[in-house]
Subunit: 292 residues, 2 copies
Amino acid sequence: MSIIYDKICIIGIGLIGASIALAARRAGLAGHISGCEADPGRVDEIERLGLVDSVTTDTVAAVKDADLVVMAVPVGVMGGLAATIIPQMKPGAVLTDTGSTKRSVIRDVDPHVTDAIHWLPSHPLAGTEHSGPAAGFAELFDGRYWLVLPRDVPEEEVVRFEGFVTGLGSVSERMDADYHDKVLALTSHLPHLIAYTIVGTAVDLEGQLKNDVIRFSASGFRDFTRIAASDPVMWRDVFVNNDEAVLEMLQRFSEDLSYLQRAIRWGEKDKLETLFSRTREIRRSIIDAGQS
Amino acid sequence: MSIIYDKICIIGIGLIGASIALAARRAGLAGHISGCEADPGRVDEIERLGLVDSVTTDTVAAVKDADLVVMAVPVGVMGGLAATIIPQMKPGAVLTDTGSTKRSVIRDVDPHVTDAIHWLPSHPLAGTEHSGPAAGFAELFDGRYWLVLPRDVPEEEVVRFEGFVTGLGSVSERMDADYHDKVLALTSHLPHLIAYTIVGTAVDLEGQLKNDVIRFSASGFRDFTRIAASDPVMWRDVFVNNDEAVLEMLQRFSEDLSYLQRAIRWGEKDKLETLFSRTREIRRSIIDAGQS
């Protein structure tokens, strides 16, 4: 691969930020990768891990001269960050983000955007339950979708950015914000909310029962605990910033759960078997789509 | 290892039955392993896969002379099966089952038990979302708990059976039925019910949105679809046979979900972050318990 941006700057070196740096280096997509991390305690770790070419806690210094600036921070702080960095950015540079909600990030960042830069929101559909710089790895985006939301950006800049995320290993796809937030509410946000809830239900059990739930944790629950180990601040921000779509999907889910609850109470075996057979087919579709 | 039972008979050669056969052979725990499968269409497949030493559709012929009979069928049919086979079993033989609910199986099987045999309910905490004979593998039970529920059985028979399940690779643990059903309701049954529900919610979405939910299926939802691909008949039986404990845990879960729903609606970030931080600790406990 050849260099796509001479200098990129990644703000927030957690799981996603660190993985972007490592994947960009793997493919030689940038001449220089600078990192910016608000938590001074993490700077030493980032240097020791050799994740970026240079690292600082100073956002203004970090974005200077960058051709691409990536905001990889919780969605709740995107707006304030954009207000700080946009006036310092190089004219013609691209600003993107990796947030899991798109309507709220666009709402918060848009007021600070100037004609001097290109604001191109995006969202890589990749992650693990681990967080922090040490959790990053170059293969995180391989074969995963990276959703790009172009609005008032020249087509050649969109294509260039798509070349960059493809170079990171991902599959680029364009989408608009409303639709993004609806799809993600069901595929990602609601499952996380439910996993957090059921693990929370276990946390509140009485002593011995709680211990044995952990000890004899069978396959279903074990998967949920993995999901419920995800970064608390990131997810707190996701739920309050995609509240509308999450609450709508949650309403549908609750109705469906009540239906099953009633079927269990009345021993309606046929209803249960019919639904369980239908859900099995969805799994096959996902395997066929190559995303299993 | 040496032979623990001269002849064992496994009734129901699905994921669990086939895995018991393969694990018993791996460790040399039985002189002869006979299999019994009610579905004649599967007999050829079982023979071709070489899972057992002999296979038949005739339960009476299968259990004859067996020192250990394992009922590895959906919990809803355990009672009828026990009524058929117990009168044909060899005096002094052990009868066990692998059902995921224990109160209902004991309730259904107990009336058919005679003094001539030893009835020792059990439940291996192991499984995958795959089902059928070809899904079985010898390593399924390695390091997993196998719960044993002794009641009126001589201690030496319990110890012998524990030696057998340990030989299959599992960790043996004694438990009573009430407690079993409560622990499993939360660790296994409720997670499956919720996974079935949320995948069902997706199935009911309108055309394009449904397709994109499958296509962009992110990590949370993908895990749920795997769980929701589990055997429909087995799980239908689990829910109607552990209805009391499942409905109780479901009630707790629904209350906790409403609490989070309200926190999202009112933007109560602190409440969300506090809960999400507590659930993270549970994951660590499970990793420490070696069951991750």
